[in-house]
């Protein structure tokens, strides 16, 4: 009996009349409908059976008389299974049990729907605003159907962040909303005792663009990949591929083999340049600019390669629903091989020169430590999790495109600190090169001049669910699509990898030195824009800054006297 059948049988028995239905749309996906009374029992059961929480999705289904829908998705990494639990609450009483006391990683998802849909969560430990700014008028929930996508309520004047009081014995050092060590707007108010960080409060979502709302009111299915690509300035293809996969899964579409491999090449090229970019930024944050210069120099070759292959350095524009737009022919494939060989050689030289350098060791070892248990508790993903010995990688655990046909390793480290993340990301560069070369081998053997995309036969039926994972350079990205009418999704939810990783930053910061703040936050490679699903903000960076105790005190005193 497979894992999925076992779960369904158990849920049926355990929940009795509260269990409504279960549907396995494609292998590895299980969509379960429940009554809302049974939600926390079912979630607890899944967690006890070793599930990893992914994301919550709320949507407005009042038009079809179902009230508000809430979907929580869980991954069983060992069994290649994703489970989505869906419940509904009537429109006039949108209250659900909060899963946060059980699963801390669900906290943000629930707060998000509290803000955007006006859902209520019973027993949420921290039911404050997350997405909406403090001056957004009460009672307007932007994701509800009746609210237009371009609504702009007038801004209130002089509304400051409502932040917590600092714990006794500590002072606050504000980082943000704009700060030299953050590449994008976010606000961390860090509690320090002397040089030691004792806690931190985060406010983000300052660049929320409302892309999901746009997709369900204005765009059509095939417009979305191009907009999805602009969710992130680094891993654009991740989002467009992911969205397309979710729609294809919902529509039951099988894309051509050639297209699968071409998508993989695009994704792995993106991983290469993202890892090199991060390596450079990390070097810069710890004041080691040789790494910054040389990593970015190597990266530039990949950017130019991508420009030749796809027509642009970034935002490749390769993906449409049903396939890809450009082919990789023999000439291009030789071009890729040549560039990759060069990159691999240069990367090896750079690795040899820097990985034993004392500067890096001193600034990264033991910094931002989080134990394996904590990492699992916070549902960390990607290199940040793999640096803490959590062996997950969506490419291997939930193979999509044709990842089950290529061989690669998933590098792990167990130091649990920034150093581990660095090692994992450097090793992944070589794995990515390996994968691309295998894809090219396969592409060369496949018949040429085949169509690169399949057409839809008629409109996509509404009300179907699709769930897709893509392992982005920073960790797994999740897209959930519920198909709708008028040739557009009813609901499209994007969960970028930074979304869970950022929730764990306060724990990583604990008891570290203030001077290490930039590299710890930088170590998860936070993509605030993806998380907020917001405007792509240019990367500009600043040095790690050491504040003397005196300066720190002045800073915090200055802040207090203003209040």
């Amino acid at each position: 009996m497979s894992r999925g059948e076992e779960l369904v049988r158990w849920l049926e028995k355990e929940l009795g009349g509260n269990f409504i239905s279960a549907e396995a749309t494609i292998p590895g996906r299980l969509f379960i409908d429940l009554k809302r009374e049974a939600l926390s029992a079912a979630a607890a059961g899944l967690m006890n059976r070793g599930a990893r929480y992914q994301v919550g999705v709320g949507y407005d289904a009042r038009k079809s008389g179902q009230g508000f829908g809430l979907v929580h998705t869980f991954a069983f990494d060992k069994d290649s299974l994703l489970v989505a639990l869906r419940t509904f609450a009537p429109g006039d009483d949108p209250e659900f049990d909060s899963l946060t006391p059980l699963i801390p990683g669900a906290g943000w998802s629930e707060r998000e729907y509290q803000d955007l849909l006006g859902l209520k969560f019973r027993d949420h430990p921290n039911p404050r605003r997350l997405v909406l700014s403090d001056d957004w008028p009460e009672g307007i929930y932007p994701l509800r159907r009746e609210v237009p996508h371009d609504l702009m309520p007038p801004a209130a004047e002089e509304v400051a962040f409502r932040l917590d009081e600092a714990p006794p014995g500590t002072s606050i050092v504000p980082f943000g909303p704009f700060h030299a060590s953050l590449h994008e707007p976010a606000h961390f108010s860090v509690y320090v005792d002397g040089e030691d960080i004792k806690g931190c409060e985060y406010r983000g979502f300052m660049t929320h663009r409302g892309i999901e709302k746009l997709a369900q009111t204005e765009l059509t299915y095939n417009d979305v990949p191009f907009v999805a690509e602009r969710i992130c300035g680094i891993c654009g293809s991740v989002h467009s591929v992911n969205y397309a996969q979710a729609v294809e899964a919902a529509a039951g579409l099988r894309i051509p083999r050639r297209a699968e491999f071409i998508r993989m090449v695009a994704l792995e090229l993106e991983r290469l340049h993202s890892h090199l970019l991060w390596l450079g930024v990390a070097g810069h944050l710890i004041g080691f600019d040789t790494v910054f210069m040389q990593a970015w120099r190597i990266r530039e070759k990949i950017m130019w390669l991508a420009e030749r292959l796809t027509g642009n350095r970034k935002t490749y524009g390769m993906v449409i629903i049903g396939g890809v737009r450009r082919d990789i022919n023999q000439d291009r494939s030789e071009d890729i091989r040549a560039v990759l060989k060069e990159v691999e050689r240069e990367m090896l030289a750079l690795e040899k020169a820097i990985l034993k350098d004392r500067t890096i060791h001193r600034r990264t070892r033991g910094v931002g430590y989080l134990s394996r248990e904590e990492a699992v508790k916070w549902n960390l993903i990607g290199p940040v999790a793999r640096a803490r010995g959590v062996d997950i990688d969506a490419r291997r655990d939930h193979p999509y495109a044709a990842y089950d046909e290529v061989q690669f390793e998933v590098p792990l480290a167990d130091s649990g600190d920034v150093w581990g993340t660095l090692v994992v990301r450097v090793k992944e560069v070589y794995e990515a090169i390996k994968i691309i070369n295998q894809c090219l081998d396969k592409l060369e053997k496949l018949p040429k001049n085949q169509p690169l995309a399949v057409d839809l036969e008629g409109p996509i039926p509404s009300g179907r669910q699709g769930l897709s994972l893509v392992e982005a350079p920073r960790g797994e990205a999740v897209h959930y699509v519920l198909t709708g009418e008028d040739n557009r999704p009813e609901r499209w939810r994007v969960r970028a990898p930074t979304y869970p990783n950022l929730q764990a930053v306060p724990s990583m910061l604990l008891n570290n030195k203030l001077a290490d703040f930039p590299i710890i936050v930088g170590s998860i490679d936070p993509c605030i824009s993806c998380t907020d699903r917001v405007l792509v903000v240019e990367r500009s960076s600043g040095k790690a800054k050491l504040l003397s105790r005196q300066e720190l005190e002045n800073l915090s005193r200055g802040k207090r006297s203003k209040k």
């Binding site: 204005e218 191009f226 130019w304 030749r308």
Partner: protein
Amino acid sequence: MWLWNKIKQLAISFRAGVVTLRYPFEPRPAPEGFRGQPVWDHTKCIGCAGCASHCPARTIFLRDICQEVRILLYDSSRCTYCGRCADLCPEKAITMSDKFELATDNRQDITQSLELFMMTCQRCGRCYDLEIKNYIDRLSSLGYRYDSLEARKVIRRSTADFSPEELEKTVTYERPGRLEK
């Protein structure tokens, strides 16, 4: 050990040398297949609005300013250079050029607009293009207008089997005038 690492790093940096390009003092042409600013060919466009309805940025507008004239306006300031319009144009009227140096203080510099002269289909009342060069269409460019119901004797058919000789004949063909009451 420390020194050895630094020497290695120095070697890497020296071997790489200066990689900064002299751009913009030296031109840097875009590679083949680059997706730059889309450019419209007004002689090919038939005003079907295919590009406008598929542009993800919704930055192409088509408006009929009167029965005969349709305006296509492309505003580059919002364009994402995805190339969807060029892919979908049935007449291949759009090419993705290699233009990328588009910064300007005047929005007009990056805006393109086409005036498309349209005809009205007498059967469905919708517009279609007048300048397009198939033979049946030329027939109507010669000035014939269906002014009255009775005159609608000529029903347009497919152009597929229209031979050049027959076209010759149509040039000298005397069209029916207005029917007298």
